[in-house]
């Protein structure tokens, strides 16, 4: 049964009643399939529910009570009718997949989000205007209908584009989850077996389970029938759905299936946690509000002005549309999406797979990272860290490849110790991995034995060969009562006919069995001083949070144990005392070598790294110290107490920078106390925490206005991953539920990858600022013509369609190019942005773009416009209040400043030339704008004009598009472009240079007088 996928399992169960005693292939696990009759779980999707420990009482009940509760019998099981009935009521034993938003809803959301509403209003106003026109005059031109259609088309196209971008990034994720098949929960014919449902264990035999898919801790846990803990996750008599049984056998009764299993509850509750809006989404919303506010208020203001200036209401509506179109940066949101997805791609290359595009930036604003220990900070494998023999502690290399084992290997004690390590070990490499580096080979065996095997393989060479030469004749495997492991071998010395007995185990147990100790290869009696030395070393290694093993051996005298002697492990017909103690060896799951550096980077970037682990406080603290989460010179309250030899209560809390808090302590804390803890200590380690407490910690951090990143891999982490501003799941060790809940997946499970992600995220925030500043600037240059047109009655300087060609044509590639800009200074040396104070679009940005550069740009473009009109015969003075006559269709002899007369179409053509001129004026100045936006503080020369090649691609694209529009499409009258004389392209150049000089001056003052009035008002 355990070999089946969960779905099939349930089907089979409903068909056959007494399948209870099916043996698995290896016979390691037995289940009695008994169907649950649980009351319908109250599916309260409120997150308060999550913070409570999982709701399960069955572990407290006796077997009799269980039988009663589920109406079954533990010997005969359920009747088939009962089983079918239960199946019908409770559904098959499978998790319901998380609900997907329908594609059409996603698409429609894109259609109405952001500026789209404004543009829809513009389009509808166009059609209404045409309707009124048509009502009055059946022959009225279709211009406004076209404009309305163009606007609608713009909305739809940008909507489709954004949708496509989203879908593309979702697809990356989908393809990724396909790589890790959902069915992988069941591993057939291998050593591991997956538990098919939540099971109350009834009988066990040396059963160990790996609850890592649930808790994230891969440490095997033993299972028995006793009720040992109130918390169902801690108690020993429950086996959970989707966890794996590593060894031993157990029989149990199914108490929960499918969504009602613990894992199912967590998964479904996690999907109930509302996803918070990402910081960048809030920023973009804020930005949209600002721009829309400006657009609508200017639009309405000028509508009123126009009406009170006795313009027709219809004309006023047309003005309103023009103002809206000029104000709305139509291409910007698409640009932002592209920018984010470019960064997402860049991050994917660095092993950060971003599921939700907006999370790209969230990582950059992260101010607290709540990190898991196992697998994220550590290598997720036990590794030999220290050795103690000859009264000395030796340090072993714990780096990822173990290459550098420098401790003294000349002593005779080491020779003996290495033999014990090699022989007293049941772990084996899986065959067929000859070409794989030792550290990457797959080993069959538990974590400690694996560590020892690899350690000895690295130092001694082919361990299997050594074992072959020292044939094993008897073995007592490790068990929790003995706490030691023993094996007896022939020696590889053909002249030595003695048997070698080797033993390893808990150091104190091993020492009890010894009467001598080996020092420098010589056996010496074990006296009090050597025992003392042993204890000191044991305590020291234990204090490092390492798991310590003792090793001893005994050569069995050849006279008493001849070659033919038959060892019997049941009767123990050989001595197990008066052995010779050889040494200690300690193991730890060592930190990844890149992590300390990454933690230092986080610290200098102002990001607080908090470790949240289910591990022991001592181990957690040791790892925290070794990776720098607790820095070398900071102490906890307990450390200070120990150093000063005073009780903990007397220590002033202010002296301590670091704190190690256990789950039990956390349980008793009020939210206020937690807040205090989080603010008072800069270095915090949470140990022995339950997964639910992770959620409490995340919420505590969020109360400090922090942007919280949470790493997690277990199913039970998924609520915290969802709750976090950015949930980071582990790509290798992570469960599917965690990956589903997360915003980002670390493909290499490496904490250091988060730091590169942070860097990218910060850069993208800076660069988005630049992009937005760049895009907003020309809005004023597009808006001013309408305002001047209404107030001073000039012929319209720039048409609505032409504006769209800037917003969606020439400006697109340059604004994307800014995403490739390098950081101005070390962005990892400044504090994370405050999510409420450091806005994407702040007042200086808007003011500087609108009222400084934007205005200069408008003036420059007007110069080009006036030049074109003046050189064709209409001097600026003649243009004022010309609008009414200019636009009248019946006036075909409008006199210019030189007495020449113009027909309506000739004027219209001149007007289009004016549009083109204004367009070119803006475009030329946007080149300057693009260059100045490369930096916000540094001089362009510090940044380097040519370092970002994409900028130049952007500039080239601007010029080429403009050339094509003017010279290529100049004859297409619907586009309102004409062929512009070459010299007009240069009229705005002085203004462009002025913009650049002005901005250099601004930056110079900002650099010279940081914190000054100028800095505050001019730095965006």
């Amino acid at each position: 049964m355990a070999q089946k996928t969960p779905e099939i399992y349930s089907v089979e169960l409903s068909g056959t009643e007494d399948v209870g005693k099916t043996d698995t292939g290896d016979g390691k696990e037995k289940y009695r399939g008994l169907k649950d009759k649980r009351l319908e779980l109250k599916k309260n999707h409120q997150k308060e529910e999550l913070k409570k420990e999982v709701d399960l009482e069955d572990h407290k009940l006796s077997i009799k009570e269980l039988e009663r509760k589920y109406g079954t019998n533990i010997v005969t099981g359920l009747s088939s009718t009962q089983a079918a009935e239960l199946l019908a009521r409770n559904g098959p034993n499978a998790l319901t997949p998380p609900k997907e938003t329908p594609e059409i809803v996603k698409f429609l959301k894109q259609m109405v989000g952001g500026f789209s509403i404004l543009l829809w209003i513009g389009a509808i106003l166009c059609w209404i205007a045409y309707g009124i026109q048509y009502f009055n005059d059946k022959s009225s031109s279709l211009d406004s209908v076209y404009l309305g259609c163009v606007l609608a088309l713009v909305v739809i196209l940008t909507g489709i584009f954004a949708y496509y971008q989203e879908a593309k990034s979702t697809n990356i994720m989908a393809s990724f989850s396909k790589m890790i098949p959902q069915q992988a929960l069941v591993i057939r014919d291998s050593e591991k077996k997956t538990i098919p449902a939540d099971i109350r264990l009834l009988s066990t035999q040396g059963c160990k389970v790996d609850n890592s898919s649930l808790t994230g801790e891969s440490e095997p846990q033993s299972r028995s029938c006793e009720f040992t803990h109130d918390n169902p996750l801690e108690t020993k008599n429950i086996g959970f759905y989707s966890t794996t049984c590593l060894e031993g056998t157990a029989t149990g009764m199914v108490i929960n299936t499918g969504d009602r299993t613990i894992i199912g509850q967590i998964a479904s509750l996690a999907s109930g946690v509302g996803h918070e809006k990402t910081p960048i989404a809030i920023e973009i919303e804020h930005f949209v509000h600002i721009v829309a506010g400006v657009a609508v208020s200017i639009g309405i203001l000028f509508f009123i002005i126009a009406v009170s200036m006795k313009y027709y209401v219809l004309d006023s509506i047309i003005f309103l549309i023009g103002i809206i179109v000029a104000n709305v940066p139509e291409g910007l949101l698409a640009t932002v999406t592209v920018t984010l997805s470019l960064t997402a791609k860049r991050m994917a290359k660095k092993n950060c797979l971003v599921k939700n595009l907006e999370a790209v930036e969230t990582l950059g604003s992260t101010s607290i990272i709540c990190s898991d220990k196992t697998g994220t900070l550590t290598q997720n494998r036990m590794t030999v860290a220290h050795l103690w023999f000859d009264n000395q502690i030796f340090v072993a290399d714990t780096s990822e490849d173990h290459s550098n084992q420098v401790f003294d290997q000349s002593s005779g004690t080491w020779a003996s110790l290495s033999k014990i390590i090699t022989l007293c070990n049941r772990a084996e490499f899986r065959p067929g991995q000859e070409s794989v580096p030792i550290m990457k080979k797959v080993v069959v065996g538990d974590a400690s034995e694996t560590a020892l095997l690899k350690f000895s393989e690295v130092i001694l060479g082919d361990v299997m060969e050594i074992r072959k030469r020292n044939r094993k004749v008897a073995e007592i495997p490790f068990n929790s009562t003995n706490k030691f492991q023993l094996s007896i071998h022939e020696t590889d010395d053909p002249s030595d006919k003695r048997f070698l007995m080797v033993m390893k185990g808990a150091p104190e147990r091993v020492l009890e069995k010894c009467s001598t100790i080996m020092v420098n290869g010589q056996e010496q009696p074990l006296d009090d001083s050597t025992a003392e030395a042993f204890h000191t070393a044991y305590m020291e290694l234990g204090g490092l949070g390492e798991r310590v093993l003792g090793f001893c051996h005994l050569y069995l005298p050849a006279d008493k144990f001849p070659e033919t002697y038959s060892f019997d492990v049941d009767t123990v017909n050989f001595p197990t005392s008066n052995l010779c103690f050889v040494g200690l060896l300690s193991m730890i799951d060592p930190p990844r070598s890149t992590v300390p550096d990454a933690v230092t980077k986080c610290r200098s970037a102002g990001i607080k790294v908090i470790m949240v682990t289910g591990d022991h406080p001592i181990t957690a603290k040791a790892i925290a110290k070794s990776v720098g989460i607790i820095s070398a010179n900071s102490e906890t309250v307990e450390d200070i107490a120990k150093r000063l030899n005073i009780p903990v209560e007397q220590v002033s809390k202010r002296d301590a920078k670091a704190a190690v808090v256990t789950g039990m302590e956390l349980k008793d804390m009020s939210p206020e106390q937690l807040d205090e803890l989080l603010t008072d200590y800069s270095e915090i380690v949470f140990a022995r925490t339950s997964p639910q407490q992770k959620l409490i910690i995340v919420e505590g951090c969020q109360r400090q206005d922090a942007v919280v990143a949470v790493t997690g891999d277990g199913v039970n982490d998924s609520p915290a991953l969802k709750k976090a501003d950015i949930g980071i799941a582990m790509g290798i060790a992570g469960s599917d539920a965690a990956k589903n809940a997360a915003d980002m997946v670390l493909l290499d499970d490496n904490f250091a990858s988060i730091v590169t992600g942070v860097e990218e995220g910060r850069l993208i925030f800076d660069n988005l600022k630049k992009t937005i500043a760049y895009t907003l600037t020309k809005n004023i240059a597009e808006l001013c013509p309408f305002l001047i047109y209404i107030i001073a009655g000039l012929p319209l300087p720039i048409g609505t369609i032409t504006i769209l060609f800037i917003d969606l044509g020439t400006d697109i590639i340059p604004s994307i190019a800014l995403a490739y800009e390098k950081a101005e200074s070390d962005i990892m040396n400044r504090k994370p942005r405050h999510k409420k104070k450091d806005r994407l679009v702040n007042a200086p940005l808007a003011i500087y773009s609108y009222l400084h550069i934007g205005l200069m740009q408008a003036l420059g473009a007007f110069v080009v416009y006036f030049t074109v009109y003046a050189q064709e015969g209409f001097r600026p003075s003649a243009l004022i209040n010309l609008r009414v006559e200019w636009e009248k269709d019946s006036v075909n002899d409008l006199e210019d400043s030189y007495g020449q007369e113009w027909t309506q179409y000739q004027r219209k053509y001149l007007e289009w030339t004016g549009y083109t001129a204004f367009f070119v004026g803006i475009m030329i100045q946007q080149i300057a704008d693009l260059i100045i936006r490369k930096t916000r503080r540094n001089s362009i020369f510090q940044q380097g004009l040519f370092r970002n090649k994409v900028i130049w691609v952007g500039i080239a694209s601007q010029i080429i598009i403009a050339l094509i529009l003017s010279y290529g499409l100049g004859s297409v009258s619907a586009l309102n472009f004409t062929m512009l004389r070459p010299q007009y392209w240069f009229v705005a150049v002085p203004h462009a240079i002025l913009i650049w000089v002005y901005d250099e001056v601004r930056k110079l003052f900002i650099r010279l007088y940081p914190g000054s009035w100028w800095d505050k008002n001019m730095y965006y």
């Binding site: 009222l851 050189q871 400043s897 030189y898 007495g899 007369e901 113009w902 179409y905």
Partner: protein, 267 residues
């Protein structure tokens, strides 16, 4: 204490005792200076741009290579004249407009103009440029001399057709305004001067400033509705003809070298 004139002190007003108000007045001052500077700069560039212009002749005339045609009385909205012979009020506007327009063609006004020889372009070298007389009598019944009502009272309304002024334009050949009634022959058209000729002596035009009091040649179209026809409605199309460099056909510009108007006369 630092010298109050160092940039540091004016850049750091917050160090001053008054704090905030100083800062906002500084902002005001800044914008005053900044916008003053921008205004000055804009004025300067505009002034510099105007210096490149010639007072007499616009720099480019490429956008008006060929003149448009325009009619008088000035149409109010569309080119649609409608009046009632029996009701003088219904055509008063037209008559006033024509009278006003022909005011500059008054004999008195033309006294100081040159009587130029017919049939040839009149190129002048300056420095003074003279304008040719336009004998308004050549418009016959449409001159307003004999009939101050321009034929509206008698049911033979006059429409004046004028060619747009373009500096330096030298028509080739023998330009004339050719008017035809479109559709049913409900009316006969007479053009004055005969044949609708536009004399070359009025060209080229040297611009408002040099060519003071220049009078552009006019052609009058007088409509006589057929007594037999029931409908007193006619659509007239006038085109420039006889000159290869004056275009009269453009898909987009309906007034380039041509003009179409409609006259509806009620009894």
């Amino acid at each position: 204490m630092k010298c109050p004139l160092t940039p540091n002190s004016w850049l750091n007003p917050s160090r001053g005792k008054r704090g905030q108000p100083l800062s906002s007045s500084l902002i005001l001052l800044f914008y005053l200076v900044f916008y003053g500077f921008l205004a000055a700069l804009f004025s300067f560039t505009m002034w510099a741009m105007l210096q490149t212009l010639n007072d007499e002749v616009p720099k480019y005339r490429d956008q008006i290579p060929s003149p448009g045609l325009m009619v008088f009385p000035k149409p109010v909205t569309a080119l649609d004249y409608s009046f009632r012979v029996s009701d003088p009020e219904s055509y008063r506007g037209y008559v006033d407009d024509l009278t006003k327009f022909l005011k500059s063609y008054d004999l008195e006004e033309q006294k100081n103009l040159t009587a130029c020889p017919d049939g040839a372009l009149r190129e002048q070298k300056g420095p003074t440029y003279t304008a040719c007389q336009f004998p308004v009598v050549s418009l016959k019944g449409c001159s307003g001399v004999e009939d101050p009502e321009f034929g509206y009272s008698t049911g033979n309304p006059c429409i004046l057709v004028k060619m747009n002024r373009i500096i330096g334009l030298k028509p080739q050949g023998k330009p004339r305004i050719n008017c035809i009634s479109k559709g049913e022959k409900t009316a006969t058209l007479s053009t004055y001067p005969s044949n609708g000729t536009i004399d070359l002596k009025y060209f080229p035009y040297y611009g408002k400033k040099l060519h003071v009091r220049y009078l552009q040649p006019l052609v009058a179209v007088q409509v006589a509705f057929n007594t037999t026809s029931t409908g007193k409605e006619v659509t007239v199309e006038c085109k420039i003809d006889g000159s290869p460099n004056l275009r009269n056909q453009d898909d987009r510009d309906k007034f380039l070298g041509r003009v179409v108007f409609k006259i509806t006369m009620h009894a």
